[in-house]
């Protein structure tokens, strides 16, 4: 039972008195101007705050179970660790509000505005966020199990490590959102938009992404076991290192996908996408030589279409590339007294020193990044090599025509 009446509350507010720890449960404060009020640890269970103005109010640790906050203005309000279980926040405005570690289990937030709101570690299990605007909201580690996010706008939202298992994400917009390490198993996302979303290491096992837009989505190392992608758009999606046993890909639309490793790009066209996701085309064509290893006096040959990344130290080695093979000398990679032959694509982030001139013979494409350094001669391919040098790269390099041309 409330210890104050509505009028007494308003008098206290007008006098700028604190209402911290006050018992206001069940009170009708609808339409009241409570902007900036101090309600820390206050009891507001079942309170009617419909259309109330709670702009920048401090509701830290307050209990608002089953409170009616429809249409309330809670812009930039502080609701850290507040208990809003079963509360009704339909069409409430919570832009910039802080709801870190708040409990919103079973709460109704349909069509609420939460742009830029903080919900880190918030409990939103079974919450109704249908049509809510969560643009740029920070929801890392939030629990959204069995929640409803149908038609919600989560573009550029931060959802890393969030738990969205069994959530309904139909037609939600996750464009540019960060869902790294997020749990999305058994989530249903028909028609949802994940354009350019980052979903690395996310778990999507058993989830449904029917007709979803995953163009440019980064799904590297994601778990896609038994994931349903029927009718999904996957052009440009990054799928390096995914585990995709039992994945379903009927009628997907993808001109190409990026099967390249971290920091690299490897376009896999048309029909190969199916083979790659279904495990028939393993990205095992990529060879990686990790940091700390040393390889001396070796002759290495990589077939056409394969991909090689070197972060090791190679000394006195000869590397032969097949047609279209990608060779990336990583940031930690050092090739000393080495020679590279063949019509591959060479990208240098590390260091290359030739053994004898020309140290690099016939590459189709030769790129040196801002971190890269090359000392040697490049003999162009018969159809002229494409060169690209980022500002800051260090070069002591000579370019000569192909011997076949000369």
């Amino acid at each position: 039972m409330a210890e104050l009446t509505r009028d007494e509350v308003l008098v206290k507010i007008s006098r700028k008195e604190s209402l911290a720890r006050a018992d206001l449960s069940g009170l009708d404060l609808s339409g009241c101007d409570l902007a900036g009020a101090d309600f820390r640890r206050a009891e507001l269970d079942g309170t009617n705050l419909e259309n109330a103005r709670l702009l920048r109010a401090d509701l830290t640790n307050a209990s608002l179970r089953e409170a009616f906050l429809a249409g309330a203005d809670l812009t930039e309000a502080r609701l850290e660790k507040a208990d809003l279980e079963g509360a009704n926040l339909k069409r409430a405005v919570l832009d910039g509000a802080n709801l870190d570690r708040a409990t919103l289990e079973g709460a109704t937030l349909s069509e609420a505005r939460l742009r830029g709101a903080r919900l880190t570690g918030a409990q939103l299990d079974s919450a109704d966020l249908g049509g809510a605007n969560l643009e740029s909201a920070v929801m890392s580690h939030a629990e959204l199990i069995e929640s409803y996010l149908g038609g919600a706008n989560l573009s550029s939202a931060q959802l890393s490590n969030a738990d969205l298992s069994s959530a309904n994400l139909e037609e939600a917009n996750f464009s540019g959102a960060v869902l790294d390490d997020a749990e999305l198993s058994k989530a249903r996302a028909p028609g949802a938009i994940f354009h350019n979303a980052s979903m690395t290491r996310a778990t999507l096992s058993g989830a449904q992404f029917v007709r979803a837009n995953l163009v440019g989505a980064d799904l590297r190392h994601a778990r896609l076991e038994s994931t349903e992608f029927a009718g999904a758009m996957l052009t440009g999606a990054r799928l390096f290192g995914v585990s995709a046993a039992g994945v379903r890909l009927n009628e997907i639309s993808a001109e190409w996908i990026d099967a390249g490793p971290d920091g690299g790009q490897k376009r896999v066209p048309g029909n190969d996408i199916m083979a790659l996701l279904e495990g028939r085309l393993q990205p095992s064509a990529t060879r990686y030589f990790g940091e700390g290893d040393v390889l001396r006096n070796a002759a290495l040959e990589f077939g056409a279409g394969s991909s090689v990344e070197i972060d090791s130290r190679f000394e006195n080695c000869t590397i032969t590339l097949g047609d279209g093979t990608d060779l990336v000398i990583g940031h930690c990679g050092v090739l000393k007294d080495c020679q590279i032959n063949g019509t591959g694509n060479v990208t240098v982030h590390g260091l290359f020193f030739e053994r004898e001139s020309p140290g690099i013979v016939g590459p189709r494409q030769f790129v040196v990044s801002s971190q890269g350094a090359v000392v040697g001669t490049v003999e162009q391919a018969s159809q002229n090599t494409v060169f690209a040098f980022e500002p800051g790269c260090r070069l002591r390099m000579r370019i000569v025509r192909s011997r076949s041309q000369s």
């Binding site: 089953e66 409170a67 299990d125 079974s126 037609e171």
Partner: protein, 442 residues
């Protein structure tokens, strides 16, 4: 009512221009607030309104000093006492009857019965004589109005008759509940022809009373609707077909003008129907905000649309999955068959159903509150609670309790349970004390 210096005032309900001396709006029958008379009338309206699920009119506050200045002499005194007595009589009717009795067969009989049954409150000794005289006055005047309007017209001022007729309209509104519900159902779908058995006797009785009250246009309009209703009974179909619907709606146009509170039902339908449609849709698994938006965007907002919709057409129009559309159509078909059954005047079936649902809600809420410690699946309990509330909303909307539906949404569940319990109790009590016109009390 906004009074003006010209001696006229405006009715707050219908906006009609009325004399400041009048106690009732001659257009819509709304009480003019003020003084003890106004309060008595307000009591009457609340009682009858509750029994029919109508919201009470605005209460008058304070006394109207202007009345005592304007109304002087015997005629003014008679007008005032007439209204006072009717108010007392109707108020007395709201109290439990001493023994079961048959409802009045006509409005005049009803009024006569309640007037006779009304125990006069013991007035203070100083006022006993004048009040006794006033009561005698009112008895004779009212008997005249009811039994022989021509006699009244010779002996009473025209505004007395107008006010009595206005009062008659007001009482009619309260008693016409089943017919009003039928007209709303008719606008929302295809009700069963069994409604005729409920509505025809009420229309006949009201028509006869209206005629005796000198309200010929109203009597004619009631007769027309009754005739249309009985004409629609022909044929093998168990529900009103499209042409019958149109004829009935056309026949009710006159009544909508003469008795707008009872027959201008479009506004009331517009309040009830969205709640029913939304609640029914939300009961279909898989219908959430996204699906609701698609259905509403396609203009599918009324019950009649869902009654005639084919799943394939629905799927094509909205872009929803065919199996979901099939479920939606099935849900509305089920509702239609339930809604086509005419309710008894007391709506006892709906109240019984409401009672069951309130009990279920209590159980679920208790289980939810006990929570995980008692091995209760809170998520399941929460979901079921929501489903029960949707069913409750449909029934309350059908009963015309739209305000209660809106209030319940604002309450926490424990208060929802309490408010529902209070409503059912009040409704049951009202039904016991006031049987609708033309029906038999249980």
């Amino acid at each position: 009512m906004a009074e003006s210096a010209s001696g006229y005032t405006q009715c707050t309900r219908c906006g009609a221009r009325i004399d400041t001396t009048a106690r009732f709006c001659v257009q819509c029958g709304a009480a003019v607030p003020g003084g003890s008379v106004g309060r008595e009338i307000a009591k009457t309206q609340r009682t009858t309104g509750a029994s029919r699920g109508q919201p009470p009119p605005p209460r008058s506050g304070g006394s109207r000093t202007g009345n005592t200045q304007v109304g002087t002499g015997r005629a003014a005194s008679q007008r005032r006492t007439l209204q006072m007595d009717v108010g007392q009589a109707l108020n007395a009717k709201a109290k439990p009857a001493p023994e079961p009795e048959r409802a009045a067969a006509s409005m005049s009989q009803a009024l006569a019965e309640v007037t006779a049954a009304a125990p006069s409150p013991a007035p203070p000794e100083a006022q006993a004589a004048p009040i006794a005289a006033i009561l005698d006055d009112i008895d004779s005047t009212f008997d005249n109005i009811l039994q022989d309007p021509r006699k009244v017209s010779q002996e009473s001022r025209p505004d007395d008759i107008e006010q009595a007729q206005a009062l008659f309209r007001q009482i009619t509104v309260a008693y016409i509940g089943p017919v009003r519900d039928f007209m709303i159902e008719l606008r929302m779908g295809e009700p069963s022809k069994e409604w005729i058995q409920v509505c025809a006797p009420a229309l006949a009785s009201l028509g006869a009373s209206a005629e005796r009250m000198g309200l010929a246009p109203l009597a004619t309009a009631l007769g027309e609707l009754r005739t249309a209703l009985e004409a629609a009974e022909a044929g093998e179909a168990t529900t009103f077909n499209e042409s019958a619907r149109e004829q009935l709606l056309a026949a009710s146009h006159g009544l909508a003008t003469l008795l707008p509170e009872a027959f201008a039902v479009d506004e009331e339908r517009d309040r009830r129907e969205p709640i029913i449609v939304r609640s029914l849709l939300c009961q279909v698994p898989g219908v959430r905000k996204v699906q609701l938006d698609k259905l509403y965007r396609a203009g599918l907002t009324s019950l009649s649309m869902y009654y005639v919709a084919k799943p394939a057409e629905l799927a094509q129009t909205t872009g929803l999955a065919l199996d979901l559309c099939e479920q939606i159509v099935r849900r509305f078909t089920r509702y239609k068959s339930m809604a086509s059954i005419p309710p008894d005047p007391q709506r006892s079936n709906e109240l019984a159903q409401l009672e069951r649902l309130a009990e279920r809600l209590t159980e679920l809420n208790d289980a939810f509150e006990r929570g995980g410690s008692a091995g209760v699946d809170k998520k399941r309990a929460r979901q079921e609670r929501g489903e029960v509330m949707l069913e409750i909303s449909v029934i309350l909307a059908r009963l015309g309790e739209v305000g209660l539906v809106e209030n319940l949404e604002r309450f926490p569940f424990q208060r929802k349970v309490e408010a529902l319990g209070a409503f059912i109790k009040k409704r049951r009590a009202a039904d016991q004390t006031a049987a609708p016109f033309g029906t038999t009390k249980n």
